[in-house]
C-alpha cells in the first residue's frame, strides 16, 4: 500500500512536470512565431487564419489619440481616448526607442494600428508634442524589428 501511494505521488509529480514543460514549450513557440505574424496563439482558435497570409490587410487600419501614462525601459503604457490601455512592450518598444522615439509621461500621442481579435496591434506611434513619428510595422502588418536584435 505504501509503495502504491509513493509511486502514485511520483507519477503525479512527473505528470505535473511534463504538463508544465509542454505549457512552457508551447508558449515559447507561440512567442517565436509572433514576429512572423501568423502567430501560433494557444488561446486563439481563429480557424480562418491561413498561414502566410497576414491579418493586417484584412483588418481596418485605425488611428486613435491617447496619452502616455507609463514609461519604462521595457514598456510604454498608453491610454487611448476611448479608455483602452495599449501596451507597447519588449521588442516593439525597444525598436521604437532604438529608432529615436523620445516620449515623456503625459505626452499626447497618435497611435495607428489594427485590431487582431480584441488586441490592438500598433503599426505607428506619433508624438503630438514633438511631431516625431516611428513606424513599427509595414502596411501588411509585418513588424520592422523582425530579424533584428
Amino acid at each position: 500500500m505504501k509503495k502504491f501511494i509513493l509511486w502514485s505521488l511520483y507519477l503525479a509529480i512527473v505528470t505535473l512536470l511534463l504538463a508544465g514543460g509542454i505549457n512552457r514549450t508551447a508558449s515559447r513557440f507561440g512567442e517565436r512565431f509572433d514576429f512572423l505574424f501568423f502567430a501560433v496563439e494557444p488561446t486563439n482558435h481563429d480557424s480562418d487564419r491561413i498561414p502566410g497570409e497576414t491579418q493586417a490587410n484584412k483588418q481596418e487600419m485605425i488611428s486613435q489619440q491617447g496619452s502616455v501614462i507609463g514609461l519604462s525601459a521595457r514598456t510604454a503604457t498608453i491610454e487611448l481616448i476611448s479608455g483602452q490601455i495599449v501596451l507597447i512592450e519588449r521588442r516593439p518598444w525597444r525598436y521604437a526607442l532604438e529608432s529615436g522615439l523620445d516620449l515623456q509621461v503625459g505626452d499626447p500621442v497618435l497611435i495607428a494600428g489594427f485590431f487582431e481579435g480584441e488586441v490592438f496591434e500598433v503599426t505607428q506611434i506619433t508624438s503630438l508634442s514633438s511631431g516625431q513619428s516611428i513606424p513599427l510595422r509595414d502596411a501588411s502588418g509585418h513588424p520592422f524589428w523582425s530579424g533584428t536584435e
Partner: protein, 213 residues
Amino acid sequence: MPNKYTVSKHTRQNWLIDAGLLISAVIASLSGIYFLLFPNAGYQGGRNPFYDLVILFTRHTWGDIHAWSGLTMVAAAAIHIPWHWHWIASMAKKIAAVISGKAAPMNRRGRFNLYLNLTVGASFLLTAISGIYFWLVPEAAHGSSASVTAFLFTNLTWDLIHTWSGILLIAAAVLHFAIHWKWVTKITRSIFTPQNLSAGQTKRSINTESQAR
C-alpha cells in the same frame, strides 16, 4: 553510563554536502516549476491572464530565487560528485570489465541504479550549462529574444534544453533520493539524536553500516 555516539567526521561532512544539495535542489525545483506553469511575463495586450500575478513573490523574485538556488546547487554538486568519485571510478571499471567479458553482468538493481545515476548526471550537466548560459546572458531569458543566437544555439533552443533537462533531472533525482532514503534517515537521526552504543557495537561497525547505504 552508556556511550553516546553520533557519526564520523567523514559521514557528517557527506551529510552536510548532501543536505546543501537537497535544500538548493528543492528550492530550484519549486521555483522552476513556477516558470513551467507561468511561462509568460508581460501584459501581451491583455492576452496574459497571469500578468502581474503574485504567488508569495513577484516574478522577478522567483527568477532571482531560481538563479541563486541553481547556482548553489551547481556549487554543492561540484563537491558531491568528487566526494563520490570512488563509486564513479569503480563503476566505470566494472562496466569496462562487463563489456570486455571479464566480469559478470550487474544484477537488475545495480543496473537500474547505474542508469539512474547516469541520467541524473547527464541531465544535471545540461541543466547546469544552460542555466549558466542564462546567468551570463540574462536577456536571453526573455521571450522577445528567442531567435537571437548569443552562443552556439538560439535563446529558444537554450530555453528548451534547460526546461526539458531540468524536468528529467527532477524526475531522476527524486528516484535517486528515494533509493538512498534509508541512509538519509539513518544518518540524520544519528546526527540529531546521538545513539547509544549497544553491547558489542563499535563506532567502526556503525560507520560501515552507514556507508553501505
